[in-house]
């Protein structure tokens, strides 16, 4: 801080160039400290042990590695490719082996680590195949821009913005400005570059002018670099395109080297807030970038090295070094004679805008223009910040005409709206305000922090907005899906209803006589329910056979009668009139009858549990027949008992009639006679049944009648078949005729009621009929088969008639069908 301003005092006496320059707004005059590193020419450094190449050495998206660990690479070979428009590739600075692709410390104010490719040099320094362009004027500008991009050139001034992006402007560029200002103290890399490689700079300027098709090129240099100005002027004068290139010298003032500030100084134009220089038709490139472009185009060399100033009081050999990118700071410091005891602060970049490094392992990257190894005396710790006294010096110093004091207040209170309103984002973070602040307030840190916070908040807000949109889209999608589902469901329901209605309508039409199936089902269910409720009383007897039912009915009838008679008896006893004796006799008789019926019913229920299940099968079994006989006998007994009772009643009625002298006596006598006859016959029958002779009963009569009807039906059927057969001209008419005859004979027998048939009744009725149905069933089946065989035959014949090619196979099929038909007919004939 206490070094004299040597550079400025000397440069003031240099002859001025007759080009108009505009003054810089604000600005400061810090101690320059450039002399220390300009006394010796640019030197190269010995090859380091390893090179650490960060994938992000530029502004924009990081490059993507295209080599693997262990790969051998050549000098100038691309090892990481660009991943977007605002991105540049990384090249191997020397030949060697990739030893790691890992996270390493990078030169960044955060002191963080990032992805790097570590290269172990093999010492051969072997170039890859280079493709220089000899006559760049014959090449399309877009090709040149792509070449510059693929050469990995990023702004060499400090910001590291990809050069190719600036060289693809949206609007035409009329003025190219080369920035040789290098306004920051200590840094002399561009100065030395201009002194030693002025020719390359001018060539680079010509190439840039060619691809930007700009009319003029201005090389801006501060007047504190007389040697550089001299060298450049000489180079421009020698150039064929020299009349378009002008070296412009202007007074030294920090920060003239800012892009917008330089434009203002050289053209008097101010880049509006939020706009780019290209909007004014101006492009600004660093002189170092021009050299890199020249190397890339004329020699085909990608950007693999740069000039870095090594300075600071802790170095014994300060100067400028040509450094391979990726060289660790430690290696460079030792080359520059570092005195570790004196070293206090290691700064990358200038003292105004640079940042302190945490360690010496970080590599030099494309933007590293200076390394300052400062002592404690050179860079004393920052004074403690005092309260703002509103002196306004910061506003005077601000090159962007901002109000640093206002920005400070708003930054402190995190009032982002006001910060934006006060154009915080036009701040170039030059540090002039902090430099002049009498209260030593770290103003730039406030602005940087606020900028970061606002950017983060905007990013959050943008993300929230995107999330909201995505959420709303999702919601509408879900709703739509729901609606679609609902609509589908509705449509399905409607279709089902329509189909049902149609079906119901058609079924009604088809069979209006047939009861509604639903109604039928309901009735069935009802019947079942009733049956269940009746049987629940006697769960043991789920179903009762017909005989049992009859018995039960009789039992209930008898008990009802008994009750009635008893009631009558009690009435008669109470009144003391009527025939009490007779009634009491009746009651006792009825009691006996009820008891008997009860017993019978119980025995029936116990003896035939299986009979309940298969009533039809029972009849075919001898045991069942016996049961049947028993039942018949029982029935007879009951009937005879009832008849006897009726007779008794009738006799009693006759007696009373006789006593009273009624006119009904005659009729009653007849009735008595009748009852007696009936009772006699029943008793006889009962006796017969008991002795084992099957009596001709009404049940047998019924059976006979049924058989007769069935025989008649069979006859009719046979006759129908006969007529059909006659119509078809079938040859089984004969057998059918036989059948008809048989049926007729049987019917006659049944009608005549011959005892032989009656004898058969028990057995034959159960056997002859099923046999007959069986034969007729077989017959039917055979007939169907016959018809089918005939149909197949016909079909085969037709196919044969139609077919012309495959007759052989068809003929075979035909014969087969014929044989089958014949077989079927034979079988039918045999069966009938």
């Amino acid at each position: 801080m206490n070094l004299p301003l040597r550079d400025i005092t000397e440069s003031r006496h240099m002859p001025e160039v007759k080009v108009r320059v505009w003054p810089l707004t604000g600005g400061i005059h810090p101690e320059e400290n450039k002399r220390q590193s300009t006394s010796v020419p640019i030197k190269s450094v010995p090859m380091p042990d390893k090179l650490i190449l960060p994938l992000s050495q530029h502004a924009g998206s990081p490059a993507e590695p295209i080599v693997a660990v262990g790969d051998r690479v050549l000098k100038g070979q691309m090892i990481a490719r660009a991943t977007g428009f605002v991105s540049v590739p990384v090249h191997a600075p020397t030949s060697g082996t990739v030893s790691a692709i890992s996270s390493e410390a990078i030169p960044h104010p955060s002191g963080m680590h990032d992805e790097c490719i570590t290269l172990i040099p093999d010492g051969k320094d072997q170039w890859c195949q280079l493709q220089p362009i000899n006559d760049y004027k014959s090449v399309e500008p877009s090709t040149l821009v792509e070449l510059i991009r693929q050469s990995g050139i990023a702004g060499m001034g400090g910001a590291g913005f990809p050069a190719a992006v600036k060289l693809s402007p949206r609007s035409p560029i009329h003025t190219l400005i080369l920035n040789g200002t290098e306004c920051e103290p200590y840094i002399t890399a561009d100065d030395m570059l201009m002194r030693e490689r002025a020719d390359s700079i001018v060539t680079g300027a010509e190439i840039l002018q060619h691809l930007l098709t700009s009319e003029r090129c201005l090389i801006g240099i501060e007047d504190n670099k007389p040697e550089a100005i001299e060298a450049l002027k000489k180079a421009v004068a020698q150039s064929s395109n020299g009349h378009q290139i002008k070296v412009v010298v202007f007074p030294t003032k920090y920060p003239s080297g800012g892009e917008k500030q330089l434009i203002q100084i050289l053209t008097g134009l101010e880049v509006p807030s939020g706009k780019l220089p290209s909007d004014l038709g101006i492009a600004v490139q660093n002189v170092g970038t021009a050299v890199a472009v020249c190397d890339a185009v004329q020699h085909g060399k990608p950007l693999i090295s740069r000039i870095t100033t090594m300075t600071g009081e802790a170095l014994s050999k300060p100067g400028n070094l040509e450094v391979l990118l990726g060289t660790p700071a430690r290696h460079l410091l030792s080359a520059a004679g570092i005195n570790d005891r004196q070293l206090d602060a290691l700064i990358m970049g200038g003292p105004m805008m640079g940042f302190t490094l945490n360690g010496q392992d970080v590599p030099v990257i494309k933007t590293s223009n200076c390394l300052i190894a400062g002592t404690r005396g050179e860079f004393p710790p920052a004074m403690p910040a005092q309260a703002c006294i509103r002196c306004g010096m910061c506003a005077e110093a601000c090159p962007s005409s901002l109000l640093p004091q206002q920005l400070y207040w708003h930054a402190k209170s995190e009032n982002h709206e006001q910060l934006k309103h006060h154009n915080l984002f036009d701040c170039i973070e030059c540090g002039a305000c902090s430099y002049v602040c009498p209260s030593s307030i770290p103003l730039v840190q406030y602005y940087r922090a606020s900028k970061g916070e606002i950017r983060a908040q905007e990013a959050r807000h943008a993300k929230a907005e995107r999330s909201r949109v995505r959420y709303e889209h999702r919601q509408t999608r879900l709703e739509r899906e729901q609606a679609e589902k609902e609509a589908k469901r509705k449509a399905n329901a409607e279709r089902a209803a329509r189909l049902k209605a149609e079906k119901a309508a058609s079924s009604n039409k088809e069979s209006s006589a047939v009861p509604d199936p639903v109604q039928a089902a309901i009735e069935r269910a009802k019947a079942k329910k009733v049956a269940a409720s009746t049987t629940t009383n006697k769960p043991a007897k789920t179903t009762l056979s017909a005989d049992q039912k009859e018995l039960r009915i009789q039992l209930s009838l008898a008990s009802a009668q008994l009750k009635k008679t008893r009631r009558a008896l009690t009435q008669a006893q109470e009144k003391g009139e009527g025939d009490i004796d007779k009634l009491s006799a009746d009651v006792s008789m009825l009691e006996a009858q009820v008891a008997k019926l009860q017993k019978e019913f119980e025995t029936a229920a116990v003896s035939e549990p299986s009979a309940i299940e298969q009533p039809s099968a029972i009849r075919q079994q001898p045991r069942a027949e016996k049961n049947l006989d028993n039942e018949a006998a029982k029935k007879l007994k009951i009937e005879s008992a009832m008849a006897k009772a009726a007779l008794k009643k009738a006799e009693r009625a006759l007696a009373t009639a006789l006593e009273e002298g009624s006119s009904e006596t005659e009729a009653l006598r007849d009735a008595v006679e009748e009852y007696r006859q009936k009772a006699d016959s029943l008793t006889k029958e009962l006796v017969d049944a008991n002795t084992g002779k099957p009596a001709k009963s009404s049940a047998d009569d019924k059976k006979l009648k049924v058989e007769q009807a069935m025989a008649k039906a069979a006859l009719k059927k046979a006759e129908r078949e006969m007529t059909k057969a006659q119509e078809l001209g079938s040859d089984d008419t004969l057998s059918l005729q036989d059948k008809i005859d048989e049926c007729r004979k049987k019917l006659e027998q049944l009608e005549s009621g011959k005892p032989s048939v009656a004898d058969n009744a028990t057995g034959a009725t159960s056997s002859s009929y099923p046999v007959k149905t069986e034969t007729s069933d077989d017959l039917k089946k055979l007939k169907i088969e016959n018809a089918m065989a005939r149909a197949a035959l016909k079909k085969a014949q037709r196919a044969l008639d139609n077919a012309e090619g495959d007759t052989q196979a068809l003929e075979a099929a035909l014969t087969k069908a014929q044989t089958k038909a014949a077989e079927a007919e034979n079988a039918l004939a045999a069966a009938s």
Partner: protein, 195 residues
Amino acid sequence: MEIVIFAIIALLALALVFGAILGFASVRFKVEGNPIIDQVNELLPQTQCGQCGFPGCRPYAEAIVSGEPINRCPPGGQSTINALADLLDVEPEPLDEEHGAEKPPMVAYIREDECIGCTKCLQACPVDAILGAARQMHTVMKDECTGCDLCVEPCPVDCIDMVAIETTPHTWSWTLPSREAEPGLIATDMRGQTV
């Protein structure tokens, strides 16, 4: 007397004209819904996480407008509360811890080897930030993930982690100078103290 009548007529005419203009404006420039709800909704972080007790950010915005406390949004944190307080002109309150603590921004990460492809997290994600299909491995689009954590619960194999978003050199930013760096004492007095 005539003057009075003319005055009344003139005023009446003016009243009718302006009434008509107002009536037209109220129909023509009618604003659907409450615009404050939209403004509140814009300040909310749109994670749709439901930690506030409402089924999404917009329902909470509606609730805030109808008088619910503004300090129930943990993903938004204090900055959102401050912004809401600013907008609604109320006093900012500290975050209601009942609804969760303020956490650094998170992103869901599916351990892809363990994913069975059940699609349950897909259905849970309010912003469709998970990509996958039935019996296919799922993955989170981390740029779209809001870190709402709603996908963690339904995962039957517990293969989803919530990972804090790391700061990289690209997302890093300077911090404000600490308040202690600015003592109330002037430098000379402080020097006297420290010596």
